[in-house]
């Protein structure tokens, strides 16, 4: 199935200008609510960076938005089409135009790196020859500087390598909307920077819309058109980095290199009885 879509109607085109629209998303695990009413709209060709402390629910947000987890309430629209959960899971074709880089890479452990990268294309286009798929995988791996590791199994890779291979796989289908969960965490500064450059270049050349989670200040500065800051299940700030400089204190602290004293929650210290 070709990845291009037919955009005849005007309304469709308008809807497509916002590849991702989330309204009133409530989500959690078991009985524990993690996200409590999150609204996000990411227009075409924007790079949106999701920020928030560790455990604030950024990955949870991604999982729900991508339809890997069913939201408790609220709606998610991909390319103007609501993700339909009536079958107990979203229809497969809602994923056809998105690419995902998982936090830990999530390579299929029984396939080599190269087979992993070629997997989505191989599955959806049974007609493609093996030689062609190999070539394509090699190009994608080269983009993330992993060309020498194509024959390795995922178990033999380091964390950073797994992540880069995961990115290569996410890019293999030329997605229009790319989700990245911490693309540069665990990478050395040089690779990390080249990865940021790659993402920017992809946006320039292919017009990919991206939703990126990252903690790295340099990456945030390089990538973000706008940032969305999650805290305690809610969005407490949304805007450009310049605006963030005057945003809520928590956001300013996050973007400031020097963290404030303590961990935010003033807990008090134990009062011992001391005598000299």
């Amino acid at each position: 199935m070709p990845m291009t879509t037919d955009r005849n109607t005007r309304t469709q085109e308008q809807a497509e200008d916002v590849p991702l629209r989330v309204r009133g998303l409530v989500a959690g695990y078991g009985t524990r609510k993690i996200l409590d009413g999150v609204d996000v709209e990411v227009p075409r060709e924007e790079i949106r960076v999701i920020l928030g402390g560790s455990g604030s629910g950024k990955s949870t947000f991604l999982r729900n938005v991508m339809g890997l987890e069913q939201p408790w309430a609220g709606s998610v629209e991909l390319f103007g089409k609501p993700v339909d959960w009536s079958q107990g899971r979203p229809p497969d074709d809602s994923y056809k135009r998105i690419g995902v880089l998982f936090q830990a890479g999530a390579l299929i452990s029984s396939l080599t790196v190269e087979q992993n990268v070629a997997l989505p294309l191989r599955i959806h286009n049974p007609g493609l020859s093996d030689a062609l798929l190999r070539e394509l995988a090699w190009i994608k791996l080269k983009q993330v500087r992993m060309e020498e590791a194509g024959d390795k199994m995922p178990g033999e890779l380091s964390g950073g390598m797994r992540k880069r291979a995961g990115l290569a796989r996410a890019l293999a289908t030329d997605p229009e909307l790319l989700f990245c969960d911490e693309p540069s965490a665990g990478l050395d500064p040089v690779t990390s920077r080249s990865l940021d450059d790659l993402l920017l270049e992809l946006r320039e050349t292919l017009g990919i819309t991206m939703v990126v989670i990252t903690h790295e200040l340099d990456s945030i500065k390089a990538l973000a058109d706008k940032v969305t800051y999650l805290s305690q299940g809610k969005i407490i700030f949304e805007g450009t980095l310049d605006e963030a400089a005057h945003g809520p204190q928590e956001v300013q602290d996050f973007l400031d290199r020097t963290p404030p004293d303590g961990d935010g929650k003033d807990e008090g210290v134990m009062a011992f009885n001391l005598e000299d």
Binding site: M1, R63, M66, G67, L68, R89, D92, D93, Y95, K96, I98, G99, V100, F102, Q103, A104, A106, L107, I108, S109, S110, L119, P120, R122, I123, H124, P126, G166, R169, T173, F179, E267, G268, V269, M270, A271, F272, N273, L274, E275, D276
Partner: protein, 356 residues
């Protein structure tokens, strides 16, 4: 200064802490305040901090005082970094009542069997009417799985089945020869190997071998977000992961069952030849007369049913895993137990259907 003062050693070694802890708690139990002499302490490390914090919280809880004497300034500073968190200890949740846990158990069981039924209907759908829909399986994966889950089990199936056939033939032969009817052991072996022992033995072996392998693999993939990654690539995990295994066992298990029954019969034949002076021709003739065609059908029906039970239970258990490595282990154990239980249960049901 109180007379009973406990001396804090120079450093908080694990041994020293255990000793001091026991002494201090002894004091608290007798309802006395605890006085510690910290003058000799040079370094207050994490273990020391934890010890003091726990003791302090305990003393406060019992309305007693913990007083630390003569601390040097450095240790005093470190003491100030101990957060005051122990106080708000939550009471443990009461265990669910018998009523609740029975209900929860029944609910889980029902949901699991609903999932198994759903998986079966979907597997059959994608293998038949749904074939034309864009299929997301790897070429050749079914064959790979046939080899992994089926063929490699052949030696152990042959070995165990022939051992059982041997024992069974010997036991029944001994009884039958008392009446001079040793030839009838061919009937017994032929019928029981084909209708009961072959399918059951194979299923139990495959449940332990292939069922556990499927659960462990799928569970690990689920835990490592590989299944989520498949979905994100618009690859249906059911088609990609379950279908190849489903067909692999559906094809190999009946073949293995046939092999099992044959090896049992051959073992019986050997017993007849060696111990009861039967001839090959007489034995085989007797088997042919005893085994009706419908027994073969029963064997095939049973073996396919068992194969489906194994694959579906194993897949449901594997894909339902949440958590980490311990959850994978638990799911694998649960898979084997559930598989064997349901196999025996269905075997009983089949006896009911076939013979009544």
């Amino acid at each position: 200064m109180p007379e009973s003062m406990l001396k804090i050693p120079e450093a908080f070694t694990p041994d020293a802490v255990s000793k001091l802890d026991a002494e201090a708690r002894g004091l608290l139990k007798r309802g006395e305040d605890v006085h510690l002499d910290g003058s000799g302490l040079t370094r207050l490390d994490s273990l020391g901090q934890a010890f003091l914090a726990a003791l302090h919280a305990d003393a406060e809880h019992q309305g007693k005082r913990l007083v630390v004497h003569g601390l040097q300034s450095e240790a005093r500073e470190r003491l100030k970094t101990i957060p005051d968190t122990l106080a708000e200890e939550k009471p443990p949740e009461p265990p669910p009542s018998l009523f609740e846990s029975t209900g929860a158990g029944a609910y889980t069981l029902l949901r699991e069997w609903r999932d198994i039924a759903l998986l079966l209907s979907e597997s059959l759908y994608y293998s038949t009417f749904g074939r034309r829909k864009s299929k997301t399986v790897l070429r050749g994966d079914t064959v790979t799985q046939m080899i992994r889950l089926g063929s490699t089990a052949l030696p152990i199936v042959l070995l165990l089945s022939s051992l059982i056939g041997f024992t069974l033939a010997l036991q029944s032969g001994l009884q039958l020869s008392k009446y001079g009817a040793a030839i009838f052991l061919a009937d017994g072996i032929g019928i029981s190997m084909i209708t009961e022992i072959g399918p059951l033995m194979t299923a139990v072996i495959l449940a332990g071998r292939s069922g556990s392998a499927i659960t462990a693999e799928l569970a690990t993939m689920t835990v490592q977000e590989e299944v989520a990654a498949l979905q994100s690539m618009a690859i249906n995990p059911l088609q990609f992961l379950v279908l190849p295994r489903f067909w692999a066992l559906t094809v190999t298990q009946p073949l293995l069952t046939i092999a099992s029954a044959l090896s049992g019969i051959v073992a019986g034949l050997l017993v007849g030849l060696l111990f009861f002076d039967l001839s090959v021709a007489a034995f085989m003739n007797q088997v042919q007369q005893a085994v009706r065609l419908e027994y073969i059908w029963q064997m095939l029906v049973k073996s396919v049913t068992f194969a489906w039970l194994i694959v579906l239970i194993a897949s449901v258990k594997g894909l339902a895993v949440r958590g980490g490595a311990d959850a994978v282990g638990r799911a694998t154990t649960a898979c084997v137990v559930t598989c064997i239980f349901s196999i025996v249960l269905f075997d009983a049901l089949f006896s009911f259907i076939f013979y009544l």
